[in-house]
């Protein structure tokens, strides 16, 4: 029988970590995501699956613990909220530079600075453009429900190991805190050390038994070699862009106007779409599930027949730039956003959409 539980988004991440066979979680408390660490500590997975849970002294330590665990070929993760993710930037760059698989969860809050503990999508640029120094890409998944908070932990680990690349789950304080029912999967066994050696033996640091030594590093002082490595990374990112784009599309077939929104804003926008349809306005919704890679091609296809895009975000206008970069037509692309931890209501968003439509007439 299906196992269904009512839980918070943050709890779903913790339970998914244990159930998916994660080897180690390293984290530091920060609102609005502390339930992830709290739930893991209460679950005591070290007594059941053998998973390690460690409260680090900072987010800097957390991400470097993840770097260590990932270097060993273990399935390791961390989570934080916006200011803490900023502290992880250097570590993320090292992880990308050493081509290591791991999962990071950002339950976003409003900024800049200490800002607010209320939900926000202000870290979109940080996630998809500049997660750290140097030329590297994360893979970024954007859940819009508690079920997706759960499921994307599995997907994130799969992608991380498929590409030896860090994967970020970009959520927000609302999805982290809200409760919904979640279908929970049966326990997946953690990989044994022998299985890790078999699957990751060419690079994982496991002790050099029966092979030449492995070195997990991101340093290369020879510029010619470093550029070759950069080109290898870029080729990987190209494959990811060609293979891993995910999005959800609702009512876009006949739509005159398409709302583009991810995460919580996609939930709000689906209500706006219903309100519009009731008034006879043909509105569709495109919800990017992967923010990196971005659904560029699909948006460009749609741009050839829709009258306009409205991008709804809880920020000053970030993803809207990627939508504009995606379309090669002169179709108007407008942004509606709230900041400071304010969640846009469907009614105000619908008003913004109508203003946009009227302007085009």
């Amino acid at each position: 029988m299906e196992e269904i539980k009512l839980m918070k988004g943050n709890e779903a991440v913790a339970i998914a970590a244990v159930r998916s066979g994660c080897d180690g979680y390293f984290g530091y408390p920060i609102t609005p995501q502390s339930e992830i660490l709290e739930t893991l500590m209460a679950e005591k997975p070290w007594e059941t699956t053998g998973m390690i849970v460690l409260q680090a002294e900072s987010e800097v330590a957390s991400i470097n613990m993840v770097y260590g665990g990932a270097s060993c070929g273990k399935r390791v993760m961390t989570s934080s909220s916006s200011p803490g993710i900023s502290l992880m930037s250097e570590g993320l760059s090292y992880i990308a530079g050493a081509e290591l698989p791991c999962v990071i969860v950002n339950v976003q809050r409003g900024g800049p600075g200490l800002g607010t503990i209320q939900p926000s999508q202000g870290d979109y640029f940080q996630a998809v453009k500049a997660a750290g120094h140097g030329d590297f890409d994360l893979i970024v998944l954007a859940p819009s429900s508690v079920q997706e908070m759960y499921d994307f932990v599995y997907d994130a680990f799969d992608l991380a190991f498929k590409y030896r690349n860090p994967v970020l789950i970009l959520s927000d304080g609302a999805i982290g805190q809200m409760m919904e029912k979640v279908v929970i999967r049966p326990q997946t066994a953690r990989k044994t050390n022998d299985e890790i050696i078999e699957e990751c033996g060419s690079w994982a640091v496991t002790g050099k038994r029966g092979r030449t030594r492995n070195i997990s590093t991101s340093v290369e002082l020879d510029s010619v070699e470093q550029e070759k490595f950069n080109e290898k990374l870029q080729a990987k990112y190209k494959t990811i862009r060609e293979t891993e784009v995910r999005f959800e599309e609702i009512n876009c077939e006949d739509a005159d106007f398409v709302i583009v929104a991810y995460g919580l804003c996609a939930r709000i926008s689906s209500k706006v779409m219903e309100m519009g349809r009731e008034e006879g306005i043909k509105i569709g919704l495109l919800r990017p599930i992967t923010l990196l890679p971005f659904p560029t091609e699909r948006l460009n296809e749609l741009s050839k027949r829709v009258k306009g895009f409205l991008v709804v975000e809880m920020n000053a206008g970030q993803m809207v730039q990627d939508v504009r970069l995606s379309v090669t037509t002169d179709v108007p692309v407008e942004h509606y956003g709230r900041m400071g931890g304010i969640i846009p209501a469907p009614s105000e968003t619908f008003e913004a959409l109508k203003r946009f439509i009227n302007k085009l007439k």
């Binding site: 002294e57 330590a61 470097n64 770097y67 260590g68 570590g91 050390n193 640091v205 590093t217």
Partner: protein
């Protein structure tokens, strides 16, 4: 000497290079302590027979590239973060020997937080701390352990306490922490000191293997290039100055 072939008979061999050192030419400057300390690590790992189950963590600094010289698995960590990396590796691989190898800039400046907290958690790792009182790789800047009055590129008038504070005795500090079982300070500037240091290093590794919490071994070391001295003058300066501020011996052994 061209064409001269020297053959050492097996019965006459009193010392040989450990097989755990690779054939790579070390990049360390003449007179630098790192080469000797790298060799001691290789010898201790080989003598304990743990080369297939040892994971080393290198820092940022001259010894970042220690992984080129000792034939074991390595992780190269971000500046200062080696102890955080090692904490995770040891917890995920409790059966392995895990050690960090860090300089004073890495461990006692940018990585103070990670180092102190790994010590306080009592991670079952060995921390090898090479203190040469300067940033060698970046060209001899002042470090937290730079001696009073010592001239560096960022303290050209000599270290002044009113401007830069005091030499940081981090080994003394971690000795107070409950998670730490062994703290010792050693040097490798003479053959006798090197022999003692090797014994201490072996003891540190043995304690880690027995899960006794942190073993912390400080090597008071030379940096001839950073100090702008000849190798011989460096050793003399170390004995006359460094060992006065950082005297060798065990600080804690439980």
């Amino acid at each position: 000497m061209a064409g001269l072939k020297v053959e050492i008979k097996k019965e006459n061999l009193v010392y040989k290079r450990t097989e755990l050192l690779t054939d790579n030419t070390m990049h360390y400057c003449p007179g630098c302590s790192h080469g000797t300390i790298n060799k001691l690590v290789a010898e201790v790992v080989a003598e304990l027979g743990i080369e297939e189950s040892t994971i080393g963590i290198t820092p940022v600094g001259c010894s970042a590239f220690a992984y080129n010289y000792i034939d074991i698995d390595w992780i190269q960590a971000a500046h200062g973060r080696a102890c955080a990396v090692a904490s995770a590796v040891k917890r995920l691989h409790p059966e392995k020997m895990v050690f960090t190898y860090q300089g004073d800039g890495d461990l006692a400046a940018i990585g103070t937080g990670e180092s102190i907290h790994a010590c306080n958690r009592g991670e079952n790792i060995t921390i090898i701390y090479v203190n040469n009182a300067t940033y060698g790789m970046t060209g001899g800047q002042m470090s937290p352990t730079t001696l009073m009055g010592m001239k560096t590129t960022t303290s050209p008038q000599g270290r002044d306490s009113s401007l830069h504070g005091y030499p940081f005795k981090i080994a003394d500090m971690v000795a107070h922490l409950d998670g730490v079982s062994y703290v010792t300070r050693q040097s490798v500037h003479t053959a006798a000191a090197t022999r003692k240091a090797k014994k201490a290093l072996k003891k540190a590794f043995e304690k880690s293997l027995a899960n006794k919490g942190v073993s912390f071994i400080e090597f008071v070391a030379t940096c001839s290039s950073g100090w702008k001295m000849s190798p011989v003058a460096s050793n003399k300066w170390l004995e006359d100055n460094m060992l006065q501020a950082y005297p060798v011996g065990d600080l804690k052994d439980i």
